[in-house]
Subunit: 172 residues, 3 copies
Amino acid sequence: MTTAADRPATRRSRTSWGTFDGREVAELYDDYAALLDEGRYDAWLDLFVPEATYSVMALENVERGLPLATIRCDSRAMLADRVRALTTTQFYARRIARHMISAIRPIAVDADTLEVTANFVVFETLVDEATRVHSAGSYADRLVATADGPRFVTKVAIYDAPLVPTSLIVPL
Amino acid sequence: MTTAADRPATRRSRTSWGTFDGREVAELYDDYAALLDEGRYDAWLDLFVPEATYSVMALENVERGLPLATIRCDSRAMLADRVRALTTTQFYARRIARHMISAIRPIAVDADTLEVTANFVVFETLVDEATRVHSAGSYADRLVATADGPRFVTKVAIYDAPLVPTSLIVPL
Amino acid sequence: MTTAADRPATRRSRTSWGTFDGREVAELYDDYAALLDEGRYDAWLDLFVPEATYSVMALENVERGLPLATIRCDSRAMLADRVRALTTTQFYARRIARHMISAIRPIAVDADTLEVTANFVVFETLVDEATRVHSAGSYADRLVATADGPRFVTKVAIYDAPLVPTSLIVPL
């Protein structure tokens, strides 16, 4: 059996969490999924700082270096407006979303912010239909420390497959 | 860059784990998924205390305040009977289930019990068929501390889409 | 309410992590999923020790005790060759994979190695198609401690449904 001493050190595959607490970061994503799926949008919005930006982009555009966002909110207030609009449409009650978020990883850290990537899959259930895969993709986020724990200052949801606009009624 | 000091404290989005250990709670759910998917039902049943109740409910009924359960077992012994019956039917061997559980969150805690919610997605594979989404939903559970770590005293699996009875051969 | 003192100790459902750190093991699987899905194969290969074996097996064969592997690489170099071959085919760019790994559990531990099982679901997106479930299954792995943290010395991906060979272009 090979032991650690037999083997030269290889490059570490990941950055540290810096001054951030990995468990608190995981809790932030757990809260993000649960509050969104329960439709508790006010509590969900509290996971963003006021100046936070929220964007949804197609992976194809990200890979091509195109800065086109399918959705872009430049502040938490704008995101709140968007969510409020969505929840008052007739479409709202007809969709149940379940977010599964995993592989939450620190990418870069400095004194104030932590860059994080994660994988997501969203499952959707429409009235009287079976649950299906809605979308999969990854997050490329920036977090800041607050008195309440880490919060999103940048959230970018990058989806793998082409999505039609009506698919984006519930935030990714 | 905004720092914590610039920003008023906002309402925390989650309860504490109280005297429970978050890591042990996560392990309970990991064990729940793994033992169920491996068909190790005796070990799986040990994750419940003897007086535990297990219910399966449709989200639609929960939202309407209807106390209708699709399945209800009022003790671990009753749950054991149900599982034993299922595993002796001809249907048993033909279904492989994979549970993915995430967003495990403390909701309320007192000296003895912890309320927890989580999201689940179950994938099912029938003989010679592709793997598909079986169901998605959430758990609304109560845990008690035991000498062996946290255990379920109440388990409620709330599924998002209408399910036909034959879909519920394997526990959610 | 039953308390711990009222109840006889039951058999614990899981092994300990031994000298391994459960959080580091979880990070290994997070890195595995993220690096694979981002196509960063060199960093992904670094998660294996040089003498590592990587196999892909059908659950049906595992259950029957048949040692047939759909894919078997007897060293990290062989795995690297395979990945290199795949990424240079015309099929490579057309598939986006998302791995969701959960229920990461210690099964057996000794001074040098840790056996771990986990559940996985892979989602696949082909050009201009919706994201779909590619496969689900479980890992049966062995890890060794290195100066860089735990690394795979044996990786076995056991898939639940019959898969056609072209489905296995991206590693599970």
